[in-house]
Symmetry: C2
Subunit: 553 residues, 2 copies
Amino acid sequence: MSVNDKSTSIYDTGLDKNTANHVPLSPISFLRRSAAVYPTKTAVIYETLQFTYQEFYDRCCGLACALMGVGVARGDTVAVMAPNVPAMLECHYGVPMTGAVLNTINTRLDASTIAFILEHSEAKVFIVDSEYASIVVPALECLKHKPIVVDIIQSKISASSIGERNYETFITEFGESKSFSFKTPDDEWEAISLCYTSGTTGNPKGVVGHHRGAFLNSVSAVLGTALSSKTIYLWTLPMFHCNGWCFTWAVTAVAGTHVCLRRVEPAPVFDAIVEHKVNVLCGAPVVLATLLNAVDEVRKKFDHKCQIFTGGAAPPSSVISGVEQLGFTVTQLYGLTETYGPALMTAWQDDWEELSLDDRAQFMARQGVIYPLTDQAIVADPETLIEVPSNGEMMGEIMVRSNTVMKGYLKNRQATLDAFHGGWFHTGDLAVRHSNGYIEVKDRAKDVIISGGENISSLEIEELLYRHSSVMEAAVVARPDKKWGETPCAFVSLKSNAKNVTESDLIDFCRENMAHFKVPKYVIFGEIPKTGTGKIQKFLLRELARSLSETGK
Amino acid sequence: MSVNDKSTSIYDTGLDKNTANHVPLSPISFLRRSAAVYPTKTAVIYETLQFTYQEFYDRCCGLACALMGVGVARGDTVAVMAPNVPAMLECHYGVPMTGAVLNTINTRLDASTIAFILEHSEAKVFIVDSEYASIVVPALECLKHKPIVVDIIQSKISASSIGERNYETFITEFGESKSFSFKTPDDEWEAISLCYTSGTTGNPKGVVGHHRGAFLNSVSAVLGTALSSKTIYLWTLPMFHCNGWCFTWAVTAVAGTHVCLRRVEPAPVFDAIVEHKVNVLCGAPVVLATLLNAVDEVRKKFDHKCQIFTGGAAPPSSVISGVEQLGFTVTQLYGLTETYGPALMTAWQDDWEELSLDDRAQFMARQGVIYPLTDQAIVADPETLIEVPSNGEMMGEIMVRSNTVMKGYLKNRQATLDAFHGGWFHTGDLAVRHSNGYIEVKDRAKDVIISGGENISSLEIEELLYRHSSVMEAAVVARPDKKWGETPCAFVSLKSNAKNVTESDLIDFCRENMAHFKVPKYVIFGEIPKTGTGKIQKFLLRELARSLSETGK
């Protein structure tokens, strides 16, 4: 039974949109309201600096004026490569205020990838922290058309300037900022952000976000993580990563306080939590591990509540329960750059309160249900779009329909078409749906190991290995095998205090705890390679496993 | 300096909307999520009834199926006249699920106004609580085209049925509801709601809301009033009034619990607060007065926090401080039916904490700053649109630009054009802006009297008085009233040939011809002061009414 339709009605006449009742949604409007309502409230803290909301707003307007002064206009790209310093946050407002698109660049990329991105995005201005001079200078040398370079220079960091302008003088040199009044874009479908995903093959793809989606996912973050005007937010998640999952805008929406941080190291993180009474932070599971493994001298006690929202790979339940014992509460989010960060969250259920920490951690390690303003997410066959039953066993691909899905990939029509095949956004992640409706990611589509025709989830093996007391990190990939097609191969790094653990110890441990066909046939010890955002580079491990298999090792 | 513009950019190609990345916003989507995520959580409590979110969702789908079964389609009007019972809440989902528009009717109107509304809105179905049979039956008799009438019958209330169908059997008779899957509308600009306001002249105007605005003002309510999954919301504000200011949808958005209530009387309100641990309620200032003036036997103590959001006329600071002493916290909101309820709120400032209760109450009595998702509000000259200085003295009209402004007035192009004159929505309210940016309403530009949260048009009463054979001139203004906020006070001069007419004669005459809550409580005889051009000087009458009220006359 579908909704009846009728061509016209009394509501179709004389009730049109106009400037009074239709305003394009944009997250930059949050800053205008917070500056108007709470002008003297602390908006940004960074080391010894503090900016009120009025100052924060004025600085962003100053940046917008300066960019327009050098010719930046609607549809231009302004690239930025910076750690989580105030300038990086200001770019999230000052750039879109001009109608331009903010291209945040991963600070851990190599020079040739940076050059590729700047060329592909046609960046007109490049705002860069001088800390990265040694990578950025060679990147700029590769470019045919050099952008205008604006340096963020922090006196503490010894670094030579790269460009012709200094950020601090740039944003003040246009005296008009005081009288500047920004408009939200004429159309909320206008692009606001451009983030390149590392992808495992070929060149990175440029994910284009729109004002509407950024606005809605910011609001969704407020609803989902209960941000409020009391929020003190610590910037442990890189802002270059999906615009800090939209918290760059969400924290401003509630007039919370942004605590900036140049480096995510245990000492400054614990210091900030205690000194500023930080009550929310986000990060990849590596941030949890950082907190958990901090040495006693830097680990500080605090008696206020602090929430951590984590995304990326599911943290092992042992890590979740460890961090909870330190006084944090952990909530898992799931999403991709293509969904502005979070699309699913592990919404808390009241009856979990009665569970033991371990049982609870198991529920909490499931990626969950839709984020408040995600419209729909299904686990389904990517071709037929038929949903899998909610039995916790049948795997399907996670697919999303939502205003919080990207416009598409920049200058890459084929990849865009593929991603939106059948009218759903295909995440490329395989998952099951449990009987309570919660979705659990089992693997990246390409990370599934097919051994003797059976699908093996590499995550399941990793989860088990993490439970071994000596294992620090574990990553499992497929190793080509003449007999079985593929077999699981584990890469493991051990804790510094680990005892003498051998390959067969870990294999035996797995055999005791899981179906034998799933047990890794090989275990390789050593450091595990990661991307700039802390994601394990499985494609490198896969290549290694392949070459070992070929040499018969 | 304005934002530069450029005709095309790299972002204008290959990045179009599709079903995966663009979904029309609608508040009915909140129910789908809450039912999926929290199926067993209590959604609705009413006397001895409780519905889980799954049951609530199923009942709404049942209503949608039933309405479609009797031919309701996109753009049709479904009217409802009911107290705050579960059926009333379900109408807020079941009706828009079909693409139809929900017309909530003030339960205190007289038969001829109800008949006018049903005719003007072209209601196809009329869902009505049998409590109102005595007014509704004569109203229906006036109609040329009678709607299908569905009765809400509560066994406790002795009342005869009005229509041919019973709500409870209606929503279950279509067995398809279990497999029903609603769509949000194709366009978020589609109408969702129709609420008639008693304007200052002539017939009531039908305010048409859209899905986009209802969605955004619901989210704004969540942000502004900090609703969460722990919210237990008591229905003391009539749902017919701006859809309960969008809390009908907002409480569902966070999967809070709706506690329904047939009558707003002190005993059941205090009982519910204690029994269900209600932590949020809304209402006109008369609700505050009800709580404050409750006799000791019904006034119950509670030790949890309970927030009250109040709108309409500003409550006197003595009422605010009195209610705070009972354990409530009070926040004032300001808005109109045309803005889906709240457009401004008294956002709390941290430095108010140090103030005395009286000083604080003074700040809190100001209507405030923009609600979280209200885009802009100005106090300005209605013709030149030049804003008044923020000096707390210069008066201007409050004007709003926001997605949370109505589509317009149904079948009333001139009133719509007037309301949107100059590209701003004109509230008709005069205000000043204080140096801290807070807006304070000083006067109704027109002569609306707000009694118990309901707008009463002084002109409507005057027109009626003029119909009395002995009345020469009549002018009605608001008289401050401790209980109701304001009540109508009539100034009347009699014809020279008039017989001996008393105050109670005129009051009786009004009672026979209009809704009782609109009837003047006082009639004062004498000459009516006028300007040189013959305009009645209402401000003088208002002062007189105020001083009479203060002297207790």
